[in-house]
Symmetry: C2
Subunit: 333 residues, 2 copies
DNA sequence: GCGTACGATTGAATCGTTTCAAACGATAGG
DNA sequence: CCTATCGTTTGAAACGATTCAATCGTACGC
């Protein structure tokens, strides 16, 4: 049914080797022959079989990327950055979404390894680090994304989440707030716990300041709204005067509940700061203060580290970017 | 270097055929043998080579999906719907982003065909329909997504964009608006031109109503902001009293420019309605009226049609969903 | 004790591409 | 006229999993 190099070779009266050379090293073939083979390809509608190619090559032309949540624009940006950089090298990115579920993460790791990916970029869950170690040991380069690796273990690209959490909380404190709510989860996710750790550090420096944690099941708009319902239902005296949301999706949900349901004024009644500075933060009901991370750059850099590791040159490296405070109306006095 | 079935066979003192059977038809192998092979696999760290598998099988376990813009949450939802449905069938979705560029679209089509995908889901550009026809002719099932196909040509899943445009414009007219601005582009994109067509139809039914078109280069937040700058800079007498944005990203950008730069009140000075009803629409600076489309369902249904076509059973079918008006503050009087 | 039937196992053939050592043919130099 | 050289072309081997017809061994019936 399908047309193979063999058919093309016959049609152009050359050997299969020549057809392959036309495809991969046209400079090694006489121009007239190239012409003849090309028109045979055109005529027969020949399409290279990538599986055979890969089998021969022993490795694919793609790299795997496993993220925690594709619905979060932050990860979409990371993916875009990675894709752009990979495309420059003629590589394809296979995108997997773990949804912070270790079974799904494991499934993607298996899939990608069977596909013999060039390498793996992953925002890992703690439970599966051993598996990653094994993977790397079997020869697949691994780069951790949005998560700092221990020196000597993996290469990684991350943004300092402790510093980001600190920035966010300090900003709220500088605005005179003292009763801070932290909304985020699951707390088992490193990004979340680090941001909380940073916030705690800032709060500890200020006398009379306190932080209360509102854990969520996932960092989504819906969970943010749920947390907001709880907050707005409290008596004013019991209510925090500022909220630090672990990401902008949560902050968006919080906004909805606090304003539309609770009829609270932001920032007068309660200040709010998010994390990631996604596109929508600037155009929320109340423009949202946030902590900006260089998402696309994270993706690009991850691919760079991966290629370096794959080529054998260059040792493992842990790159850490610094987050940045973006002030908007939701925290202005 | 890498471990093959041959190595496993040797380690377990069986033939390669038996190893393969353990992997694919364990019921055909004696339990004790299964056990032995499995522990050899474990011990050697054997990982199946998917390329070899595919080569033999002649087809991959994945389907290709090409969308216009991954940064648009609408398409993210479509992709999620498709992935969920595909996963149930043990299939993987390869995601490609054409960015409304026909060269990139063509590149993905080539890539996916070389990968011998099970089938292709695509939001096509007009220029490349002939190529799709050839692809289908060579044996790859194709389903158009978010675009209605001509009966007899392709299967397709779409939402009636003309109806959606009509709904949006009629809603603005019912709110008493008469000078409608349509912001969207490129106008060569079918979704955009259909929505405009529907809007024109609604406007034509109302005496004294007019529509003015503000074309954009792409349907992004940034372009929306640019269009908003133009609108807000106009003298009040020259300014439209309502805007219909071709999608919610544009609407988001418009909001930013109209409110933050133009100091205009929405909807008092100018009403605004978007399209897609993405998550953020409800939590925009002014909660955004929009036209809702069943995005995830679109993706699921597309996979269903694809599988049906691939199995040979069932003819080509054009499914059309109806869009739905969602009223929020941005158009309330 | 012999033949049969059945479950388990074998291993050569196959998928389609790429590689590379060898063969080929034409040209130039001695 | 022979040989060396250079640019082209050749075709068999290899990649690794799967398939399937053939073989093996055992248990059972007669």
């Amino acid at each position: 049914m399908t047309v193979s190099v063999r058919d093309v070779a016959a049609a152009a009266s050359v050997s299969v080797g020549t057809v392959s050379n036309v495809l991969n090293h046209p400079d090694k073939v006489a121009p007239a022959t190239v012409e003849r083979v090309l028109s045979a390809i055109e005529e027969l509608g020949f399409v290279r079989n990538d599986a055979a190619r890969q089998l021969r090559a022993g490795i694919s032309r793609s790299i795997g990327l496993v993220v925690l949540d594709v619905r979060n624009p932050f990860f979409t940006e990371v993916a875009r950055g990675a894709e752009d950089r990979a495309a420059e090298e003629g590589l394809t990115v296979l995108l997997g979404n773990s949804g912070a579920d270790s079974a799904r993460e494991a499934a993607y790791l298996d899939l990608f390894e069977e596909r013999r990916v060039h390498g793996l970029l992953i925002t890992p869950l703690d439970e599966e680090l051993a598996r990653l170690e094994r993977l790397r040991h079997r020869g697949t380069p691994v780069v951790l994304v949005d998560r700092q690796a221990l020196p000597g273990s993996f290469s990684s690209v991350a943004v300092d989440d402790v510093a980001g959490g600190f920035l966010a909380a300090r900003h709220l404190l500088e605005r005179g707030r003292r009763r801070i709510a932290f909304v985020g989860g699951p707390l088992g996710i490193r990004q979340v716990s680090d941001r909380l750790k940073g916030a705690r550090r800032a709060v500890a420096k200020v006398a009379g300041a306190a932080i209360e944690v509102f854990p969520t099941e996932s960092p989504t708009v819906l969970e943010g709204r749920t947390a907001g319902e709880v907050l707005q239902a409290r008596a004013p005296a019991e209510r925090p005067d500022a909220v630090f949301a672990a990401n902008d999706l949560l902050a968006t949900g919080l906004l909805q509940a606090l304003i539309l349901r609770g009829k609270l004024r932001i920032p007068e009644d309660i200040a709010l700061i998010g994390y990631d500075d996604i596109d929508f933060a600037a155009s929320a009901i109340v423009p949202l203060s946030s902590i900006r991370q260089p998402a696309a750059l994270l993706g690009q850099t991850a691919v760079d580290l991966l290629l370096r590791e794959a080529s054998g040159r260059g040792a493992k490296e842990q790159v850490v970017f610094r987050p940045e405070l973006v002030e908007r109306a939701s925290t202005q006095a």
